[in-house]
Chain length 445, copies 2
């Protein structure tokens, strides 16, 4: 049965108030699948089923942001408070931030004091930081505990903690002093002391660190969760591996979009409105229209040589595009290597030499191809002009393409803004100038 079919069945069951049938339908499903199905049912009906599911908080957390908000408006206040109270703290805070003021005011008094405080703390961190990503549902231990005591403590914490597979050892000031895995606990003898067997060199992130760096750390050290500390070294949260994986995927999407000259899209591409798509794309397109006028100025400057040798126009798009294509390749390689951390800013100069050499070889290959065609359509001089132009255009294109991400980074922009369209336009302008300049030296006016 597809999700659509199940949604159909559920809709009927809810309309007839047959909730046991409905619950039975989704009983064996993973929470994310249940969430996908609920999203296909009108909120007016689906909240009634959701409210009756034993894993309602988990299912609700998997819903898309807009579906969560739509459902929140259907729930009676007491039921909403129960649901929200059971949600993981990071998801709860995200939902809270999306509600309007009147919803927030209605919800807050219904929550427990600890949950209110938790929302207040977590919602204070800026978007895109470790603080905004982390959850405060983690398991802690004390260094003086025995392994038996630690296991008993974890048993108590398990229902609320996002993971108990790594437990964090803190002192009386909540300073993070160690970490221990449940695997080590299981393997240790019950009377051993946590302080003696914990790992003291803990990989952690500061609460203000960029979420991209957090995801990289989780990936590098193969962590199940990364502890997050404040400036004083006190443990304030953890980021779990699944959230880190989502961040890595979102950041890759973001870079990918930028590379194509699209501003960051938030949320699902499929559901994005025409207005938003227009807004995210129009800036670069219009900006580049004006950027391309520079190519036009180059053409205007060499109008006479063009008028006298119309064959030049035949090869114009080809030559100009080749520089842009080679430059896009260089930029693509560099932007991704910067994003994965394989290349850092100070590598620019050492990579420049290799890039120039590769560009020279590529330029010579392409010059060989074009000069044959030039000879057929024009003559030996045209052929020479084309070959010289091609090598120059490709080399300049590659140097621009590989350098622009670094320059943008220096200026405080994301290197991924060195998009193919931007590189193409910059290379076009220089390509036109180089081509027509070389032509004006060899061809009659």
């Amino acid at each position: 049965m597809t999700h659509k079919d199940i949604a159909q069945l559920l809709t009927t069951a809810i309309e007839q108030q047959k909730f046991d049938t409905a619950i039975g339908q989704v009983h064996d499903l993973r929470p994310i699948d249940t969430a996908d199905i609920l999203a296909l049912i009108p909120p007016k009906l689906s909240w009634q089923l959701l409210d009756r599911l034993p894993n309602r908080a988990t299912v609700f957390s998997y819903l898309e942001a807009e579906d969560q908000v739509a459902l929140a408006y259907q729930f009676p206040r007491a039921n909403l408070a129960r649901l929200v109270g059971d949600m993981p703290s990071d998801e709860r805070t995200d939902l809270y931030k999306r509600l309007d003021q009147s919803q927030r005011d209605a919800l807050l008094p219904a929550l427990a004091q600890a949950e209110r405080e938790d929302i207040r703390l977590l919602s204070a961190y800026a978007e895109g930081t470790a603080g905004a990503l982390m959850t405060s549902d983690y398991a802690t231990l004390k260094a003086q505990m025995t392994v038996a005591q630690a296991l008993a403590a974890l048993r108590l914490e398990a229902p609320d903690a996002e993971t108990i597979y790594h437990a964090y050892v803190i002192d009386s000031e909540r300073q993070l002093i160690g970490v221990i895995s449940l695997r080590s606990l299981i393997l240790a003898s019950p009377e051993q002391i946590i302080g003696d067997i914990m790992l003291t060199s803990v990989v952690a992130s500061n609460v203000n660190e960029d979420q991209e760096d957090v995801a990289k750390k989780v990936a590098r050290y193969d962590l199940i969760a990364l502890p997050i500390i404040d400036d004083s070294g006190a443990l304030v949260g953890i980021v779990t591996h699944d959230d880190a994986m989502d961040v890595a995927s979102d950041e890759a999407t973001d870079d990918f979009h930028k590379s194509g000259g699209v501003s960051s899209l938030v949320g699902s591409f499929k559901d994005t409105s025409i207005r938003i798509l227009y807004r995210k794309r129009v800036f670069w397109l219009v900006f580049l229209v004006f950027g391309n006028l520079i190519s036009g100025v180059g053409i205007a400057h060499f109008e006479e040589v063009i008028a006298a040798n119309l064959v030049l126009v035949f090869f114009l798009p080809l030559l100009v595009d080749s520089g842009g294509n080679a430059g896009s390749q260089s930029a693509t390689l560099m932007v991704r290597a910067l994003a994965t951390g394989e290349v850092v800013m100070r590598d620019w100069f050492s990579l420049l030499g290799r890039e120039a050499l590769v560009a020279l070889l590529l330029g010579i290959t392409m010059a060989a191809a074009i000069s044959v065609i030039g000879y057929v359509r024009g003559d030996a001089v045209v052929s020479l002009v084309l070959a010289l132009s091609m090598v120059s255009v490709v080399m300049i294109g590659c140097v621009i393409g590989m350098s622009l991400p670094f320059v943008l980074n220096k200026l405080g922009f994301d290197p991924a803004s060195a998009s193919a369209p931007l590189i193409t336009s910059v290379c076009d302008a220089s390509g036109v100038a180089i081509y027509l300049f070389i032509a004006s030296k060899f061809l009659p006016l």
Copy 2:
């Protein structure tokens, strides 16, 4: 101390055969950091330290492929066998595949029978499948065990299993019939039966499934590990969350490179040779040189209208680029949405309408900008020609850009091959034809 400084210290210590000092230096480090440092020391020296580290197999697994092979040639055969025997089975198989035949023949007899068999089985799976990615170091339980027996069994399996946080329940035919988390085991009472508390709707992948789909499943269901089954439903391995995260990152890099018209690079970008970089880039560049000749043919066809109206050349790069830019945006959005699974093949038609509408709005905006400049530089007729051309070029560009990934996919190519350079060239050719066709209708010959 930087990694370079530590490597310096270690080199001296090894040369003086002071291994206790050397081991002390890396004792508190994470395995991946130790591996990064060892990579900075000549293999002739570094193997001596590595061989003495208690976590040598883990550290070795974190080394880059070429460093592993270089070290393998330094190790005495018995020591290498001990090292390889302790490696996780997926890493061990990867190393084995990289050794030359004489190395393999030397290594195999030194390994235990079970390890030889394991290598034989794992190395049989095609690259890029779940089978090539999975490890055979997983923990299994029987349905009739009590929780107490299960915990005792996991304690025995823990030293060898990559994870014991999820244990897989199999029957006497090794069929995968359930999964249970260590968290549930810890929370259950000791006399409960595994068969009663395990989860029976297990998310699993077939051993021949594409590694990209495996990574997507791990991400979707927030798994610590995904069980891999063969065609008969028998459990043959698991893929852990950290390996899935690496695959997702590699696939994103691959798509990113393709989007810039670069063929897949294997291994570190920084260490890639000039020869490889040339080879990975030259195909598309030369291919597109010939592709761009089509634009030239368009220009040749309309040579007379150009000769009579040289102002057309001034706007040629601009108009032609605008179509390519808009098309690149469309392709970028589509390629990434296809890669993340947000959009599937059958969505093409329903997305086409939205795309056309967005393109129309973008085209009108850009036409407004260009027609003003056209009026200033030319006259009202030129202005009209430019505006009409711009709207057409942008709309055609967007439709090509959004459709090409689908078409390529239908033809059996990766949709990410719809790179910016390819889109630019296709849009250029159609842009030249549209522009000059419209011009020929309105302007004097």
